[in-house]
């Protein structure tokens, strides 16, 4: 089995008058997507902070199993509304990482194009929740992380944005990035999860994600759509699970039972199919 990049061993975290996590152990491996589910205040966010190493455990240890500490990307809940524009903000974060100015500028433009956020001169404090979440994700993946931590990434996102985010996470997972997602709305994310862990009563309960039935198997379609559209019409495709655009191509993940319908619509819209791959059962 692959060696974990971060491992929590018998970790307890408590605050005065409240035990949040009691003697929990968890190992996170490359290319693995883990969902942390549980009610509000159950300790999901604390667990994310412990995994990231930015909160110290009350007892127990956090071990990093590589000579070089893993590069961690973090997409927090409640991303602040800065007085910077998104470009200024990402430029600052990139420069703090030590990235060269020119390559960073290109990367920021690419990320804006990828997540469909216009490069504007308006400060982020006037952004909607969905726009802020996109900048939040961009800063987390400014350079490819080894481990990506996401705290309630779907809150405030509309359906197309959720699909885009799921597509982006699927891409990162395929690049061998370990992903840990804390959410209380797991339905949209179970498609990419390898492990689902419930945080409850200061403990962790793990269950394997159910294998998809024949009707739940997904198909990935790589296509080129006319006019740079992300997908033909999301309302017409309730089976569309994710959509992400990169390099002029669009990568769609769709439920297998509605795939033919989607392919037909892409062709009728003047698009072209580049690749079709079946996933799951």
């Amino acid at each position: 089995m692959q060696e974990p990049i971060v491992e929590l061993k018998q970790v307890t975290k408590s605050y005065p008058g409240k035990l949040v996590l009691s003697s929990v152990s968890l190992a996170i491996r490359r290319g693995e997507a883990m969902l942390l589910v549980g009610g509000n205040g159950s300790g999901k966010s604390t667990l994310i902070r412990l995994i990231g190493g930015f909160t110290a455990p009350t007892s127990g240890s956090r071990q990093v199993h590589e000579a070089r500490p893993p590069k961690i990307g973090f997409m927090p809940d409640r991303f602040p509304k800065h007085k910077f524009t998104s470009e200024e903000y990402l430029m600052h974060m990139g420069r703090i990482q030590g990235l060269p100015k020119e390559g960073l500028g290109r990367r920021i433009h690419d990320l804006h194009a990828l997540y469909g956020l216009p490069l504007a001169s308006q400060p982020m404090r006037s952004f909607s929740k969905g726009m802020l979440q996109k900048v939040n994700l961009m800063q987390a993946v400014l350079t490819a992380p080894d481990l990506l931590l996401l705290d309630e990434p779907l809150s405030g996102l509309d359906d197309p944005s959720v699909q885009e985010l799921c597509g982006a996470l699927q891409e990162l997972k395929e690049q061998n990035v370990a992903i840990v997602i804390s959410t209380h709305e797991p339905a949209a994310l179970t498609g990419i999860a390898d492990r689902i862990i419930t945080v409850q009563n200061a403990s962790l309960l793990e269950k394997k994600p159910e294998a998809p039935g024949p009707e739940e198997a997904s198909i990935q379609v790589v296509c080129r759509l006319p006019g740079g559209a992300l997908h033909p019409d999301p309302a017409a495709h309730p089976g569309l699970l994710s959509a992400v655009r990169a390099g002029g191509q669009t990568r769609l993940t769709v439920r297998a039972d509605v795939c033919d319908q989607l392919l037909l619509q892409i062709l009728q819209a003047g698009g072209s199919i580049l690749e079709v791959t079946r996933r799951g059962a």
Binding site: G73, F74, H92, Q139
Partner: protein, 236 residues
């Protein structure tokens, strides 16, 4: 380090948190030199005390300025927590450098003194202003939201410490000499500027070296404590 300082600079400028302390500093300076002529070193002693308080105010307003969530993100991008806290101290210090220079140069240029101070006097006064600013900064940095339960408690505690620093010699005289090792050694600056107005000492008095050591110890222990504390939620 430069990229972090530049980020903090833009963050701070857009917050406008510097406007109140800067305004108070300028008003107090114009008030101090409102009547001419003024004694040279006594006036510098007054402006050094003013800068000590203003630097503490600037640092108190700056040290918790960055959003709590953003602090975690900045840490992950920079990779080193101690580097961020070092940058915070350096940034506030850099912010006070032009204030020190203004406090020295303004009364000379606008002929506010009874006589023109010598270069040595001006440099001694500049050094004292910088030490006063650094002491204010390294004291105020401790009174932050991660170490205090509420803003009110940290503010009142800081005011108490600043008052004790300014009136420290009286407390030492009325209690016991060992208190001089605990109380912030601000009187060392007054000793140079008030008691030796000629400022012609061959070397700084011992108290100044102790003050410098005190500032370094405050800064190093602050960085050590804050780096260990990480990003635990505020104490409730």
């Amino acid at each position: 380090m430069l990229s972090i300082l530049f980020y903090y600079h833009r963050y701070y400028l857009r917050s406008y948190r510097y406007t109140a302390p800067l305004t108070v500093f300028l008003i107090a300076m114009f008030f101090l030199y409102g009547v001419v002529p003024n004694p040279v070193m006594d006036s510098y002693a007054a402006s050094a005390t003013l800068l000590f308080l203003i630097a503490a105010w600037l640092c108190y307003g700056f040290v918790d300025l960055e959003d709590d969530t953003q602090q975690v993100i900045t840490f992950l991008h920079s990779g080193k927590l101690a580097l961020l806290y070092t940058a915070k101290l350096i940034y506030v210090w850099l912010f006070t450098v032009p204030l020190s220079v203004f406090a020295i140069v303004y009364p000379i240029i606008f002929d506010k003194f009874a006589y023109t101070p010598s270069l040595r006097q001006a440099l001694t006064a500049l050094g004292c202003h910088q030490l006063a600013a650094l002491l204010g900064i390294t004291l105020a940095a401790w009174f932050n939201a991660k170490l205090f339960r509420t803003g009110l408690i940290s503010f009142l505690s800081l005011c108490t410490v600043l008052a004790v620093a300014l009136g420290g010699q009286g407390i030492i005289n009325r209690t016991f000499p060992a208190m001089s090792w605990v109380i912030p050694p601000y009187p060392a600056i007054m000793y140079v500027l008030n008691d030796h107005p000629q400022a012609e000492l061959a070397a700084p008095p011992q108290g100044i070296w102790y003050l410098a050591l005190y500032i370094i110890m405050l800064a190093v222990s602050y960085l050590w404590v804050m780096s260990r504390r990480k990003f635990d939620e505020r104490l409730k």
